[in-house]
Amino acid sequence: MIQETCQVTGTELVTEETFVVSFESKRIAETIQPGQFVNVRSWFGSDPLLRRPFSVYTVDRDRFVSILFNVVGKGTRILGGLRKGDLIDVIGPLGTPFNLNLNGMKTAVLVGGGLGVAPLPVLTSRLKEKNVRVHTYLGARSKSQLIPSFLENLSVATDDGSSGFHGTVVDLLERELPELDQTPVALFGCGPNPMLRGLSALASKKGIACQISLEGPMGCGFGICQGCPVRLSTGAEEYVLMCREGPVFDSTLIEV
């Protein structure tokens, strides 16, 4: 974990509402693992007060890192206004990454819903380095919200049917899974909680290993505020922290 003030190297609008902000950080680019996140702030003063956490979306030439977000509140409004040369204070890499060392995994199925696509490009490139075949399923409300870059063997589902399968990405995956399931397969999901619940249910029905990356309110991002509990599926009232034990979890261990 490091804290560094970084220079913004570019801001891009990749859909009508989704920004990609890139910044230069050699140390984060070199150490980030897929599924980990950064907690950032580009403003002074106390409103907004807290940093904003984002998955690392891309890593370029071991020097440049990008994050992906929609403008939904005070923090993202400021971040969306960043321009090349502006400064952004970054703490990272944070959190527990995806586990890529699964026994016998030959095929990885990546499932992203909406902005849950964010961790998938870095995950894709690391899986390919390990010679794992990658299939990607991407869901969005409609065609204009799809962010299909840097992904492998892409299948698409939209809620309104404007692109690809008309329905949820989990429904699409369930139809196609039998074909993929010829080799030992593992699921990697990131997206809204209802999607992750569906994916977890599908994984347990089929007996497939499934890791999911959660999103939720967070304070510090590294465990000192205790503000981001995730309930374990032990039946008892037991919590771990999304920022520290997560944001990636084995889907059987937690309640989404």
Partner: protein
């Protein structure tokens, strides 16, 4: 220059490097941020509240950002006193900074038990008592909202420790200085002022409270003026030292607390945004003193000059 400024702070014979601490619940057990800060630059770490048994804490959502601050309802999630002694203390006591164990409990007996367990431990320099915990005997009303109970608790703890005993007072009472006087009379060595203010935030679309527990504790820069007024009030009512807490983000904020009457300060919510805040505050107080020809930081305590108003005409814009 800065070498000449005396920063050390002594409480009941225990010496701390300077007067800047990190507040309970905002710095874990001291070992989470070692990648980012060197704790030997600050006076001490006040641990997350420790209870007899591990506590899981409240369900989500536990925090929500509000204007200039945040509401929390963590629910005293902690690993329990035994795990702290076994897993955390051996490391924390080697960090070159003071260790103040904060204790939370649901009965006076439990407070005493946790304190006695820690009293034996080398490396615990002082105790801070979180009285803002629900009291089982009184149907969940917090100890800190009852002056007789807060006094009774202090009286019960006092003979059980030779270490400094600090009572952390809640501002959610009518007259906080009455509580301060009561714990001073019961043998407390210092008070911490203030704990969080009870607050509420509602999502208007769903009409639901934003925290799972409905209300929570407000902290951050938003509460600083309230905290300063409470420190001012308490420090004039008692002769024991006051730890000033509430919305400190930089050295100027901390100096305000010293001027209002605090003998030391604790940095809380700001640690979440920038874990090096306390380090910067400690250095900033020192350079302020150098710049103003102040040889001992203690010369700032209660040194607010209330005799005449300072015009803010040239800085308010």
């Amino acid at each position: 220059m800065s070498e000449q400024v005396k920063t050390a702070f002594e409480l009941k014979g225990v010496s701390f490097k300077n007067r800047v601490f990190v507040a309970s619940g905002t710095f874990g057990y001291g070992d989470e941020c070692l990648d980012l800060i060197d704790p030997s630059t600050i006076g001490g770490i006040v641990t997350k509240s420790l209870s007899r048994k591990r506590r899981e804490g409240n369900p989500p959502d536990r925090i929500v950002e509000t204007a200039g601050g945040m509401l929390n309802s963590i629910g005293l999630a902690n690993i329990g006193v035994e795990a702290f002694v076994r897993e955390k203390l051996p490391r924390v006591k080697t960090l070159g900074t003071g260790v103040v164990a904060n204790i939370a409990a649901s009965s006076i007996d439990e407070y005493c038990e946790v304190l006695e367990m820690l009293e034996r431990e080398e490396g615990v320099d002082a105790f801070e008592i979180n009285v803002s915990c629900p009291n089982v005997r009184e149907g969940g009303l917090s100890f800190g909202m009852s002056c007789p109970l807060t006094e009774e608790l202090t009286r019960a703890l006092r003979p059980r420790t030779r270490k400094p005993l600090i009572i952390k007072l809640t501002p959610n009472v009518s007259h906080i200085s009455e509580f301060a006087r009561a714990v001073e009379g019961a043998g407390a060595d210092a008070v911490s002022v203030i704990n969080t203010l009870i607050g509420l935030a509602i999502d208007v679309e769903t009409r639901k409270p934003k925290l799972s527990t409905v209300t929570g504790g407000l902290s951050g820069p938003a509460i600083k003026p309230v905290a300063l007024a409470k420190v001012y009030e308490v420090s004039r009512a008692v002769s024991i030292p006051v730890f000033g807490i509430g919305g400190i983000s930089d050295a100027r904020d901390a100096i305000e607390f010293l001027l209002a009457g605090a003998s030391a300060v604790q940095i809380g919510t700001a640690n979440f945004v920038d874990p090096s805040t306390a380090t910067r505050v400690a250095a900033g107080i020192e350079s302020y003193c150098s710049r103003h020809g102040i040889v001992d930081v203690s010369d700032l305590i209660g040194a607010m000059d209330a005799s005449q108003r300072v015009s803010v005409v040239d800085t308010w814009l």
